[in-house]
Structures are given as structure tokens and as C-alpha cells.
């Protein structure tokens, strides 16, 4: 693997070919905040919270650090007025769903986000996808998935699979930043799991 030299926040960083900006930054001890990233899972690029400025040949783009590949002479800025504005607005949009989530509240303080800026929405899932991806990639059970799209997109347990797998597992529960997952499980169990007698037949 060849070495690639790039710049992050004015600091020269050495990375290997194939690394993402996030990986290179972590290796160099530079912190970039994330919400949907997890070291055991493939990078997702859904929350866009890790957006950074990436300058190539004088052109600046806003990219997700968790996905953007390192390149020679790349200049990365992990904080700037616009980057901070992006993160602040992302938080405000998510706080409209989950104003009580601890992770979001801590970040809100740092970026000056106002949890009441946007009209509240009743679903407190922030679509980080950690539960869905963990079940698919690590446990390989696919007991939970996303259904629908756009603003009606939501997580959904597959009752037939969840009834068999989830009670003894629940490894995805601690990953959920807002406890929407636990609520979804409880509701699915109450309304949709096949009856005990039916599954025993």
C-alpha cells in the first residue's frame, strides 16, 4: 500500500492508499465528530455530521469524511464557519425528532444548536441506521430493516425473524442514540409478533 501525504487542519498527515479522511484523521489523533459511524460497520454517510472541507487543486468541496478517500496533496479542514453551520443545522433538524437524546444535547452545546428551531416530529428515530446495519453486517440476521422512503422512511422489525432472534440478542439496543429502537421493538413485539401457540405448531 503506497503512502499518501495530505493536510488536515494545517497538519501534515501520512495515510495509506485506500483510507478515508476519517481514518487518516483518527490515526493522526485529529477528531472529527460522527453520528452514524461505527468501527464494526461499513461507513454509511447518512448523518453527514462528519462533513469537512476538502480542497483539491484550489476547488473546495464539502464531503463526508467517513467515505471520502485520501488523495495526494488533499487539504482538509475539519472546522470552518460553513462546516460548523452545517453541523449546527443537522443537529437542529435531528433535535426536532429527539430533543432529549444525550449525545445530541452534548453536541448541541458545542455547536450552538437550538433544539426548538424546527417544528417537532413525533418519531424520535434519527435514521443513523446503526441497528439495521449491525443486524445485517455483524449478526447477519436481518431482523430489522428500513421501510418506505423520504420523510415516511422508518425502521421496522420483521416480526417472524425478530420473534426468534431478538430476545436472546439485543446487541443493537446500546447502539441506539435515542432509544427509538427499544420503543420500536416493544411495539413490534406487542402488535406483530406471531402468537406463541402458532410458532409452537
Amino acid at each position: 500500500m503506497s503512502e499518501i501525504i495530505l493536510q488536515i487542519d494545517g497538519k501534515e498527515v501520512t495515510a495509506s492508499e485506500g483510507m478515508t479522511v476519517l481514518q487518516a484523521a483518527q490515526q493522526a489523533g485529529i477528531s472529527i465528530p460522527t453520528l452514524c459511524h461505527h468501527e464494526k460497520l461499513d461507513p454509511y454517510g447518512g448523518c453527514r455530521f462528519c462533513t469537512v472541507e476538502a480542497e483539491v487543486r484550489g476547488w473546495t468541496n464539502y464531503v463526508a469524511a467517513c467515505l471520502y478517500p485520501v488523495a495526494k496533496d488533499l487539504i482538509v479542514r475539519t472546522r470552518s464557519e460553513k462546516v460548523d453551520k452545517i453541523r449546527k443545522v443537522i443537529l437542529e433538524l435531528l433535535l426536532a425528532h429527539a430533543p432529549d437524546a444525550f449525545d445530541l444535547q452534548d453536541l448541541a452545546k458545542e455547536y450552538g444548536a437550538n433544539k426548538d428551531r424546527f417544528a417537532k416530529d413525533s418519531s424520535f428515530c434519527i435514521h443513523c441506521g446503526l441497528c439495521v446495519r449491525y443486524c445485517a453486517e455483524v449478526k447477519k440476521k436481518n431482523a430489522i430493516c428500513f421501510v418506505d422512503k423520504g420523510k415516511t422512511r422508518e425502521i421496522s422489525f420483521i416480526p417472524e425473524v425478530a420473534a426468534k432472534e431478538c430476545w436472546n440478542c439485543k446487541e443493537c439496543f446500546p447502539l441506539c442514540p435515542t432509544e427509538a429502537l427499544q420503543a420500536a421493538y416493544v411495539l413490534a413485539k406487542a402488535f406483530a409478533f406471531p402468537l406463541e401457540s402458532a410458532s409452537a405448531e
Binding site: G46, R48, N61, K85, I90, G150, R153
Partner: protein, 565 residues
């Protein structure tokens, strides 16, 4: 049918077809384009066949169903040849008279021919009708003359001679250079120089390369691609094969909508016939060049028209777009170099190779060459497809071809490019149809769909409508797009209901900035375009909704109710 193995054999076949055509034999050409189908031409076609049967004239008179003639507003359209008498808004009840008076007695039926709405002047022949006469119908002009289900009709008008020239007299690099010099720019919305795009794919390091026809046309209000492709599928196919040769690709894909059965039939038939005649498959025209084409269908979602999403769909996956910095010309379908172009772009290629880049450069403006298909819709008298040279003034397009605004209303604004495009006010109508001029005005040409909006249209409501559309089409994966659209839609809906608040416009602008920078794909990054262009030119209208709770267009119901209070 033995496969054609040389240019000479092709010409021999062509002459053979031409010699069998009786120039005096009457034929009835009925438009079966999407609009005429919608206006009930099915009954017309059966009425003609039945009447000819009754009078035992089937052998003496040909009936051909063609693709879109272009003058959709006046459909169903029937052209009686060889005199080229053009009848508009034809009904099944008119059929017996048409046959006895025009086909047999060679007389013109006055009430069915075109009458100029301003001068009252009549025009019986298609080529005399100002709507057709004043266009430059390089791509669409043959539609009324050929049966899209017959490759021989296409050969009769000179089809595939450009392909023969490219494969047998030019090298791939020469073909590519010709397209570069012609400065053919993408007709699907990007306006990117096709020649440069081809070159990137040609030079990309991989033996296997792909070429793709984007026939998805998901943009609401755009119907020119379907009109062209359904009417003359071979013109697009010929362009695709020439492009594949220039790029070094041996596998092509056509990606089209699943919900247009006539188009699907015509495309499938065109491919089968081209294969049969040796214009597709192995050793095309004896040149040694192999090329085959597969057809794929969309699943009914707007985003699958975006090139990287389309390519994912061809791979059999859900059409989720990739970030823009991954160039599909280098990493496309299955990570191989893939060149995607729009239907109209491909159809221009045989024209350029056949007539030369110098001819092509003589049409249009400095940086926007050739003709452009424009679909006119909305509050316009003639909702149709027109083909005009680049540089034509928008005024001419709207008033001369479009016939102006119906019901005595005034034009308020023109919108280009659908939900990801932009709006300009009527005051800018004396600008030319040009990629760069329109882009600078904040209303990129897009695919060439122009939506006219009259004085009774509320732009706040239209902005809301576009966001509503996009909220249904957003994949929902990334926060800026999913949540940003949700909130922008809330704010605009509230504005139309008299619940707009001070600071709403600034909030919309801030959301636009964030979504534009941080969204995952090009759909997300363009959602704010219509709104920003409307704020640029019509800010006062948005402010009136907020500050005065007033809808200047008298369209928003809740605000009209408040006016009386």
C-alpha cells in the same frame, strides 16, 4: 434477411427499398405519440382501418401509425400522403369524409386544416403550417413519414449511412474528434461536452467499457425524449453504435421507463431488426466491430434518472446515487468505465457524423450548438414538442410556437428543468435559448422542458409543490435532504396557509445552503434550486404571504379568505 456486410450492400438494399416505393400511392399517417394516444387516437386508427375495409381499399391505401409529429395540442393528427395534407383534431366521425374527399377525390376539407389564430390564414400542407415551417426539425422532421416499427422506413430516409461512414471510413479517434469539434453538449440536463465525456471513458484504464442511453425522462413536464425515441428509435440506436465505436465499448444499455408500452415495443423491435440486418451484433457491416445492447427498465422512481443511480439499477440494485466526486465515466457499472448520454444527445450523433461538424457548428450560438427539443407545457396554448436552433429567443418559443398564454392571461414566469431547475420572470423572455445564458440567470435549461405559469399562479405554492414532489422521491438516507426537505415543506405549506412567520425566508435560505453543501447526492444538492430562483426574482411575493398574509396571485385559498376579513 441476410446480414449486411458492407457499405455497398447497405446502399444496394436502400436503393432496393426506395425503388419499391410508389410515390403516388396514397397513405394515411396517423400520429400515435403519447399525447395523441391520450387524446383518443386509438378509435381513429380502428375507424380508418374499418372504413378502408368497407370500401375494399386496404390494398390501395396504406395506413401507418407513426410517432409524435410534435403539434400535440392539435392532436389527433392525420397526414394524407403523398400530398402531405395535414388534418388536426381529427375525430372518428371525420374518417369517411377524409377517405372519400381527400384520399380518393384529392380535395381538402377546410374545417380540418390549420387556421392561424391571429390572421385566419389557412394551411393545408404540413410544410406550410407555420408551427412546422418555422422550426428546424433535424431530429423530429421525419417522424410523420416513418413507421417506427419498420427499419426499412428508416433506411429509406438514409438511416445507418452515418454508421457505415463511421465504421468503414473513419477511425474511432476520428469519430471522437468530430464529435468534440462539433461541441455536442449533453441534452439531458448537464450540458456537459459529450466529446470530452466520451474521451474520458475511452482513456479510462479498463478493457471493458459500457455505453448507456438514458431514456428515463422522469422530469415532470419533459416529454421530448419519449416523443423522439418512440417515433424514431433507430436514430438513437445509430448514434449509440457510433459512440460505442468511438469509445471502444462492445456492450450498450438502454434504460427506459417501464410504464410506456408503445415505447418499449418500438425499442425492442428496433433492436431485433437491427440485429437481423447486421447493424447490431457481431461484425457490424463487415467492419469487424461487435456491439450488443440490453434493455433495462426503471421501477418508477425519479432518482433513477440520475446517472450513478441508473447505473446501480442496471446492476440490479436499488437506484441509490453515488457522490458526485466518483466519476462514472471511469467507475460506472460494476466499477467499469461507463459513458451515459441522453436520448437526444445520441440522436444528434448520426447527424454530426453524416453532415459534418462544420454543418453542426453553423447552427446555434457560440457555445451552444445544434438544435434543441423543447417540451412546452402548463399555461400555454400549444402544449407541444418543438425543435429549434440554440439561440432562439424564448419569446419566439413561447409566443410563436407556443401560441402564447390561454384565456387572455398574462405570462408571469417560465420554469426550466423541473423540480431541480429554476424559474425566470416574464421580463427576461428576450433571452436566447443557450446553456450558459440560462445558467447565469439561475434557470438551467435542464432537459429542455419549459413550463409556462400565468398571472394566477402563486409561486410560493409552486415552490411548495416541487418540495412535496421531492419529499416523495428522496431516498431518505441522508439528514440534510430527508429532514431539510421535511422542514422546508412545512415552512412553505404554512406560508400558503397564512401561518408564515418573520424569519421564514432566511431560514429557507439557510437550509438551502446546508442541503446544497452537505447532501449525499445530486438530487439532494439540487432541491433548493427552484426556490432560490423564485426568491431571486419574486421575493416580494413570498414576503407578502408572511408580512401581509396576502397571496398576490389570489390563489392560496386560506389567504383569500383572510383578505375579506
Amino acid at each position: 434477411m441476410t446480414r449486411i456486410k458492407s457499405a455497398a450492400e447497405l446502399e444496394e438494399l436502400r436503393q432496393g427499398i426506395l425503388s419499391k416505393i410508389d410515390p403516388d400511392k396514397p397513405s394515411i399517417s396517423i400520429c400515435a405519440g403519447l399525447s395523441c394516444l391520450g387524446l383518443g387516437n386509438g378509435k381513429l386508427i380502428s375507424a380508418f382501418k374499418e372504413e378502408l375495409g368497407k370500401q375494399s381499399l386496404e390494398a390501395k391505401v396504406d395506413v401507418i401509425t407513426t410517432g409524435c409529429h410534435g403539434f400535440c395540442e392539435k392532436g389527433p393528427i392525420v397526414v394524407i400522403n403523398p400530398e402531405e395534407i395535414c388534418y388536426l383534431e381529427v375525430k372518428p366521425e371525420d374518417v369517411p369524409e377524409i377517405i372519400s374527399q381527400t384520399v380518393i377525390a384529392k380535395k381538402v376539407i377546410d374545417r380540418l386544416i390549420h387556421t392561424d389564430p391571429n390572421t385566419g390564414e389557412k394551411a393545408a400542407h404540413m410544410s406550410d403550417i407555420p408551427f412546422y415551417k418555422n422550426q428546424m426539425r433535424v431530429l423530429m422532421g421525419n417522424n410523420s413519414k416513418i413507421n417506427p416499427k419498420s427499419i426499412e422506413d428508416y433506411l429509406a430516409i438514409g438511416g445507418y449511412s452515418a454508421l457505415a461512414k463511421a465504421l468503414l471510413k473513419m477511425s474511432p479517434v476520428q469519430v471522437l474528434e468530430e464529435v468534440k469539434i462539433a461541441n455536442l453538449r449533453g441534452r439531458g440536463g448537464g450540458g456537459f461536452p459529450a466529446g470530452r465525456k466520451w474521451e474520458t471513458t475511452r482513456n479510462a484504464p479498463n478493457e471493458v467499457k459500457y455505453v448507456i442511453v438514458n431514456a428515463h425522462e422522469g422530469e415532470p413536464g419533459a416529454f421530448m425524449d419519449r416523443a423522439l425515441f418512440q417515433a424514431n428509435p433507430h436514430s438513437v440506436l445509430e448514434g449509440l453504435i457510433i459512440g460505442a465505436y468511438a469509445i471502444g465499448s462492445h456492450q450498450g444499455f438502454i434504460y427506459t421507463r417501464h410504464d410506456t408500452p408503445e415505447l418499449r415495443k418500438n425499442v425492442d423491435l428496433a433492436l431485433a431488426q437491427a440485429e437481423e440486418y447486421g447493424l447490431l451484433g457481431e461484425n457490424i457491416l463487415g467492419s469487424g466491430f461487435d456491439f450488443k445492447v440490453e434493455v433495462h427498465y426503471d421501477v418508477g422512481i425519479f432518482v433513477s434518472g440520475e446517472s450513478s443511480a441508473l447505473m446501480r439499477s442496471i446492476e440490479g440494485k436499488a437506484p441509490e446515487p453515488k457522490p458526485k466526486y466518483i466519476r462514472t465515466s471511469v467507475n460506472g457499472i460494476w466499477d467499469r468505465p461507463s459513458n451515459l448520454n441522453n436520448v437526444e444527445t445520441w440522436a444528434n450523433v448520426p447527424q454530426i457524423i453524416g453532415k459534418g461538424s462544420e454543418w453542426y457548428n453553423s447552427i446555434g450560438t457560440d457555445k451552444s450548438k445544434g438544435t434543441k427539443l423543447i417540451s412546452l407545457s402548463g399555461h400555454v396554448c400549444n402544449s407541444t414538442v418543438v425543435e429549434v436552433p440554440m439561440g432562439t429567443s424564448l419569446r419566439e418559443i413561447v409566443y410563436d410556437f407556443g401560441g402564447g398564454i390561454p384565456n387572455g392571461k398574462k405570462l408571469k414566469a417560465i420554469h426550466f428543468g423541473g423540480p431541480m431547475g429554476g424559474t425566470i420572470p416574464e421580463s427576461l423572455i428576450d433571452n436566447p435559448l443557450d446553456f450558459d445564458v440560462l445558467s447565469k440567470l439561475g434557470a438551467s435549461m435542464g432537459a429542455g422542458d419549459m413550463l409556462m405559469m400565468d398571472e394566477d399562479t402563486c409561486l410560493v405554492e409552486v415552490a411548495r409543490y416541487f418540495l412535496d414532489f421531492l419529499s416523495g422521491e428522496s431516498c431518505g438516507k441522508c439528514v440534510p435532504c430527508r429532514e431539510g426537505i421535511r422542514q422546508m415543506l412545512n415552512i412553505l405549506t404554512n406560508m400558503t396557509k397564512g401561518k408564515g412567520r418573520e424569519g421564514d425566508i432566511e431560514l429557507l435560505e439557510e437550509l438551502s445552503e446546508v442541503i446544497g453543501a452537505a447532501a449525499l447526492c445530486s438530487l439532494g444538492r439540487s432541491v433548493q434550486n427552484p426556490l432560490l430562483s423564485m426568491l431571486k426574482y419574486f421575493r416580494a411575493e413570498f414576503e407578502a404571504h408572511i408580512k401581509e398574509k396576502r397571496c398576490p396571485a389570489h390563489s392560496c385559498k386560506e389567504l383569500i379568505a383572510l383578505e375579506g376579513v
